[in-house]
Symmetry: C2
Subunit: 405 residues, 2 copies
């Protein structure tokens, strides 16, 4: 029997208890040990609930109990999670977490500490909810040099963009619907501004390239600027707008960004709709692979946490090597990154057209019925810096979206 | 340094050497050891080629060299692979294989033997080429009870069906094109009759349910009966015909089958086209996940084999537990399995219609321009047995395809 403690009895924490109860028998078989939840740390008491007797309010009870071998940290946020996790590792306990803020900020350090302590720090649930992606990156794609990771890593924004497309809804209407469905929080900033996706791509990039990618260094743009008109144009091109978090090797450099982008049906992420997540990986020998599933939600996330608990229980006394050094990876200046851009400008008289053609050279015009008052087009490949300079010369565009084709 | 030997210098074997040469440096870092190919077993000599000095013709040289810790078996076929692999395990060597025939037939036994010998028998490349699926099933979905696995597991047939759909080609034309592109063998039987997919779903089902699923027990139907007219009807329904290999828990029973099926765009496998493979898994807590990538090909397959070598090298002296007992799983009789069916019958006069309606009850008619001489429809849910009995009463249909919606 392996004793564990769960820090935080919120959505994911209660999901962990539910999964262990529901599938306990087969989990024990696969694990080779019974998993016993000895403590749950929470500020609340949960009087009268089945977990009441497991609740403790004082972390030191857990920390100082040598019977507890694995800590499940599902509180979220950097502190006190970081302090708790570090103390646990130093006490020789393995930690399984769903906490993307913690992993993005302190992943490298906590992995090094775990290695030294011969315990494990596992975080499958921190990216892509239930989708197996951390373990495949660590253990299955070990023969490859990763060239690109591009993900739809935030279910809320994907739901909003899917809804805008399927219902011709504007951003505010789609956001409200996402909030009503419980897919978006009342303060949706972390999702719609791309901050959540940014932390997740920082984690994936660090693992893919084996060095510390700081999330603060990643250019991040959310979806609040996307309008129903943009979606109309996307459809006219047979394309779709997705909030993509991407990191890519170009020559000897890696760049990373989070931004809405236009993609076509030939891209495996095109059909990832609604609250689903998808993660596309290109390796130099495996070619293209894609992982798809529920990116959030109580049970899918708990499934990933419990799978980590199983792995930690199977590896008591042994560290599972993870390739993420604390050495900082200097990302390529985003200004130098090249894309095509989709651009809409107000006015489509001959003068406007002539100016666009003079500034951007060869462009591909995109037309949508009923929008004859604007001039919209796809540019050729341009660096971000070159695009900005050109955009300034034609006046502020109505919108510009990066293009993945 | 870890010494390995490669059995068979064919497509995959030479791919393994190429991947180790190309990515050797990062593989060593991830693995913690340098991987050294000490021998290659092949009947040929490869005079003048860089591998010439590694070639041996006598397996006992490899078997009796205690320095060789890992055997890569990429010969294919049950014998002599089975004998070689068994001997290697008994000598305390780990084995990594891409050989689906071997794994489907002897997987359970070789896993038990490996456990006893404290070595590893790994076979990521035996299903889905490079796509990580075996390791995710074994190590990432451990918190779940698997309810369904459905895969597009054969790139050749998926290419043919995609081509029939995109070019309105008939089966023979699409097959010829697949052969010209090198995607289909001159004798394409193992692919087009579904035998290849059958072995792969047997392996996945055994792992998902933890018991031996014999491939001989799996109802298998290929794609040679699919016509361009069927594809026209599929398009008219907004659907697609895919060769799906599926195993599913219904109540306390599992059924498994390989057959062409109609699926709609809402299914994640719908957009898996061309030579790509996709594997859809439904767990009772994780929900739906899907894995996508190159299902075959020299480098993708070699990527999976080398990832297994890395794992084996990291686990010398320790067995990675795999949950696949040799106890036979009795599959549900396929006759009891329920589907909807798409049916085409010759003749669409009132008499024919009346008979169909009398026999099948409520049906959904499907029309295609220029095919007014036939009567085509979707049935309600029927067991295979009930369908056969009803189909007999209306005379032999022009075609019938199972429906996934």
């Amino acid at each position: 029997m392996v004793n564990i403690a769960v820090l935080g009895y919120g959505t994911v924490g209660s999901g962990v208890i539910e999964v262990l109860r529901l599938n306990g028998e087969s989990i024990s078989k696969r694990c080779g040990h019974d998993i016993n939840v000895k403590y749950i740390l929470d500020l609340r008491d949960f009087k009268g609930e089945p977990v009441e007797n497991l609740i403790v309010h004082d972390y030191s009870v857990i920390l100082n109990d040598p019977e507890v071998k694995i800590i499940v940290e599902v509180m979220g946020g950097v502190e006190p999670a970081y302090t708790f996790v570090k103390e646990a590792i130093l006490k020789g306990k393995s930690v399984c977490t769903s906490n993307k803020e913690l992993v993005a900020k302190h992943g490298a350090e906590l992995l090094e500490l775990s290695k030294a302590q011969k315990v494990n720090f596992l975080f499958e649930a921190s990216v892509g909810g239930g989708i197996p992606i951390i373990r495949p990156l660590n253990q299955s794609l070990t023969a490859d040099e990763i060239e690109e990771i591009t993900g739809i890593l935030n279910g809320t924004t994907n739901y909003i963009l899917s809804k805008m497309s399927s219902d011709n809804a504007d951003f505010d209407t789609a956001l409200k619907e996402a909030q009503n469905m419980g897919y978006a929080e009342r303060n949706p900033q972390a999702d719609v501004e791309g901050y959540d996706a940014c932390r997740k791509i920082a984690i994936l990039s660090s693992l893919a390239f084996g060095m510390q990618v700081d999330f603060e260094d990643i250019y991040t743009e959310g979806i609040t600027g996307i309008t129903d008109t943009d979606v109309l144009y996307a459809k006219a091109m047979g394309a779709s707008i997705k909030l993509l978090a991407t990191s890519k090797k170009v020559g000897n450099h890696v760049y990373a960004m989070v931004a809405p982008m236009l993609i076509k049906p030939t891209h495996p992420l095109f059909s990832v709709n609604g609250v689903f997540n998808g993660i596309f990986v290109r390796g130099n020998v495996i070619g293209d692979v894609m992982f798809y599933g529920s990116g959030a939600g109580k049970l899918p996330t708990a499934s990933a946490v419990v799978a980590d608990v199983v792995d930690a229980a199977k590896h008591i006394g042994t560290n599972i090597m993870t390739f993420w050094s604390s050495k900082k990876l200097e990302l390529r200046d985003v200004k130098a990154v090249e894309h095509r851009f989709f651009v809409r400008v107000a006015g489509c008289d001959d003068k406007a057209r002539a100016l666009v053609n003079e500034v951007f050279g060869e462009i591909e015009e995109v037309k949508v019925d009923g929008r004859e008052e604007e001039y919209s087009f796809l540019t050729g490949f341009l660096s971000e810096a070159a695009f900005e300079e050109k955009a300034d010369r034609i006046g502020k565009p109505l919108s510009r979206i990066r293009v993945m084709f």
